[in-house]
Amino acid sequence: MLSGKMELLDIDSEEIMNSIRKAASPPEDAEDWVTIYVMGKPYRVPAGLTIMKALEYAGYRFIRGSGCRAGFCGACATIYRKRDEYRFRTALACQTTVEDGMYLAQIPFVPANKAVYDLEKIEFTSNTLLEYYPEIARCVSCNTCTKSCPQELDVMYYIQAGLRGDVERVAELSFDCIQCGLCTLRCPAEIQHYHMAQLARRLYGKYIQKKSPWLVHRLKEIERGMYKKGYEILKNLLEKDPEKFRKIYESRVRESEEKRIKDPWEKEVE
């Protein structure tokens, strides 16, 4: 089963790197093509690309509308309809494959107002969310926000939880929010969902989650200078006896159970 330690034949590592480069390059030609409409203009692009890569293939070079390119930042919020379909759809351009007959437009910016607060001074009650985002009371439970969410979050439910002052539920339901703003653009009640959720999560993290019991001890130890000597010894070894430093590194004990394990540098301290 264990095949990790085995000897190898002649290796041309430069040739390997060239093969990797070739494998990772965009293909020169494609077998299957689709037609997409970028803000109304038709372009023929290879099938199987993401919307973002398809737009680039078509010749667009993004300034806005491209951020992390991996589904984490919300910069590439996209709205579209498919030919012959009444449905209004939303997507992240970097996480959605192009389909034939997509009519696409990207959202460069979402105007939305964030409440300003000092989390230290906030008086946290069941009304806090309503106080900072009173418009959540206008929710008509139409569920358009939920339908527009490219993360498939239960946006309307967290707005309702917010109305009830259930900060924990808002934090939990909104945790995966990438703040693209599509919910806010679609909302007929003009709610700014993602900003409210941000406040809820911070309230939860600060006032509801318990503080780590160990962290404060460690901070005191550091403040008392408990680790000074350890750093000092290792610094000296690094400069004067790198071989020994290396040995100490190699003989570290890997944590295997939930108890304190002595490590080689500690013996040096003692």
Binding site: S3, K5, A171, L215
Partner: protein, 565 residues
């Protein structure tokens, strides 16, 4: 399209998945024994020498100019360091100052935001700070980090042990004072985050749920599901907005401004939308421009965000700063190799930390899952390109399996949705259920291990080894913290620790010193003159600001009409 997919995979890949399923029960039984695959230091070196892209010939050359003349760096990096300035210094009027601030922060990702916050805590009023950033505030690799942040805060762990792990992971090339700062500040940073309301994964008593990272001897990885970077970034950005710190978006720094007494006195910014430039004079300048993933070193795909084009390296180098460890590139062992739409995107190390084992096409383990990243990546390349035990994708990528369903078997059904929802969601979008099927991975360009050299106060070091009094750097742009290879969970930590130190140092300078003396772009002119003597092609200019992914046909037919420029 033409290929018929079965639950996201073509039929021929399904055959290999069956082999993976066959060996799974045995592998789960022997999970503890995987440690036997762990390599000794000598074995590591041998593997790296043969299979790590950094060690393979043909990818690097020596610099012909500047403080690091003679140093070996990747060709792609040499190309932007040995390049003509993007701006013509003679077209900039430095007499008219558009922003006159205490602190200019170039870069609106994690490090820049942390620096701004700590400058305010240190007594600088927000309107005297300016963050200039190329994309939107928070569009940065900081947003994308998934796995977590290291801090030695449990009784059986120690900051010194964290130090030792980081030094060994970095091949002992790290700068002592920086690793000490990194590891000693770490618990404090976590405490700060707790106070800001960052939602870390905790148990009901408030204990952090801490996990393994590669190359570490303790479980000390703090995470927020697999959205750790996003959770921290959106909280600190929210805080910066609460404090009213001004941010100029889509307006990158394009050159630093030097002064006649050899200091840094601000920068030239460029509004990418209106194309106008702005002159910023600052008592202190913080460089927080991030890394180089979008240079696609050696043609590798990357996990990095759209703007990771190493602009900061270029600006600082032209102004006379010293760089270090740029010969080492971090390839993350687990980038997505399939499907094509997400090739190169990050599969967090937490997937391995939680129990998934990399296996070859026959379902055999071939490497200890939690070696330091460079070693792990080299082992993947060996399996794919020397032993041929890989799976080939329809577009020609090769990869090995990361057996994600093991996580559910080891830790219970629902563990993936609860802890790795971003990963689950990404694969689900393309028809693959990673709770049921393994995922195909191959190394991807991930991190700039080195960068602009700093000291423990985050001051940038000049060519002569002395620090600039008014110039600081934090985050991926700086070097020395990680030596030749960064460990998982130390990058989020790095930008917090050194972003904070840069912000504090900058605030102290801004409070104690007056405005910088006469601003100048003389260093850029001097640099351009050397480009002339080196016969650098005229079209090679930097900073490049953004990569260019336009289709080849479009670029070939593209013409500029001199009417709407």
């Amino acid at each position: 399209m033409a290929l018929k997919l079965i639950r996201g995979y073509p039929e021929y890949m399904r055959e290999s998945i069956e082999l993976v399923e066959k060996t799974r029960p045995e592998r789960i039984k022997n999970k503890e024994k995987e440690i036997e695959l762990k390599l000794s230091m000598d074995e590591r070196d041998k593997l790296l020498n043969m299979f790590h892209p950094d060690y393979a010939p043909g990818g690097k050359r020596s610099l012909r100019i500047g403080p690091n003349e003679g140093d070996i760096v990747p060709n792609e990096v040499a190309d932007i360091l040995e390049a003509w300035p993007a701006i013509d210094p003679d077209s900039i009027d430095l007499a008219e100052i558009d922003f006159d601030v205490d602190i200019l922060i170039i870069g609106g990702g994690g490090a820049g935001t942390v620096a701004a916050l700590w400058a305010v805590y240190e007594g600088i009023s927000p309107e005297n700070i300016l963050i200039a950033t190329k994309l939107r505030h928070g569009d940065a690799n900081s947003m994308m980090a998934q796995g977590g942040i290291q801090a030695a805060d449990r009784p059986w762990d120690s900051p010194v042990l964290h130090y030792l792990d980081a030094m060994g992971g970095g091949h002992f090339a790290n700068k002592h004072e920086l690793v000490k700062a990194l590891t000693e500040d770490a618990p404090f940073i976590i405490k700060w985050h707790e106070e800001l309301g960052v939602m870390y994964d905790k148990d009901e008593k408030g204990n952090f749920i801490e996990r393994w990272g590669g190359g570490t001897s303790r479980m000390r990885l703090h995470s927020a599901k697999d959205y750790t970077g996003m959770e921290i970034m959106r909280v600190i950005r929210d805080e910066a907005r609460n404090l009213g710190i001004p941010v100029l978006e889509f307006t990158p720094g394009v050159e630093l401004l030097t002064t006649d007494d050899g200091e840094i006195g601000g920068a030239v910014l460029w509004n990418m939308e209106t194309k106008e430039y702005y002159v910023v004079r600052a008592k202190a300048t913080v460089l927080a421009t991030g890394g180089w993933g979008r240079l696609h070193i050696r043609g590798f795909p990357t996990t990095n965000h759209y703007g990771a084009t190493a602009d900061g390296l270029v600006m600082a180098y032209r102004a006379g700063a010293r760089l270090r460890d740029l010969d080492s590139v971090q390839y993350h062992p687990t980038g997505a190799a399939y499907p094509e739409q997400i090739v190169g995107l990050l599969i967090t190390e937490k997937v391995r930390g939680m129990g998934a084992t990399p296996v070859n096409r026959y379902g055999e383990p071939f490497v200890f899952p939690l070696e330091p990243r460079d070693v792990e990546a080299a082992a993947f390349i060996r399996e794919c390109y020397a032993r041929g035990n890989c799976v080939r994708t329809p577009t020609g990528m090769r990869g090995v399996w990361l057996d994600s369903p093991m996580i559910e078997e080891l830790r219970g059904k629902g563990t993936i949705r609860k802890n790795l929802d971003a990963m689950y969601r990404m694969y689900k979008r393309f028809g693959i259920d990673m709770t049921q099927d393994p995922i195909l991975v191959f190394p991807t360009l991930h991190y700039q291990n080195g960068g602009v050299e700093i000291n423990a106060n985050a001051q940038v070091i000049k060519a002569d080894g002395t620090p600039y009094p008014r110039f600081f750097a934090g985050g991926e742009v700086e070097g020395g913290v990680h030596g030749k290879n960064r460990l998982m969970g130390n990058s989020l930590l790095d930008y917090n620790v050194f972003g904070r130190r840069a912000g504090i140092s900058a605030a102290r300078v801004a409070k104690s010193r007056g405005k910088p003396s006469t601003l100048s772009l003389a260093h850029v002119k001097k640099y351009a003159a050397i480009m002339e003597t080196l016969n650098v092609p005229k079209h090679r200019r930097s900073p490049i600001l953004l990569p260019d992914y336009r289709g080849r046909k479009v670029i070939e037919r593209k013409i500029d009409l001199p009417v709407l420029l």
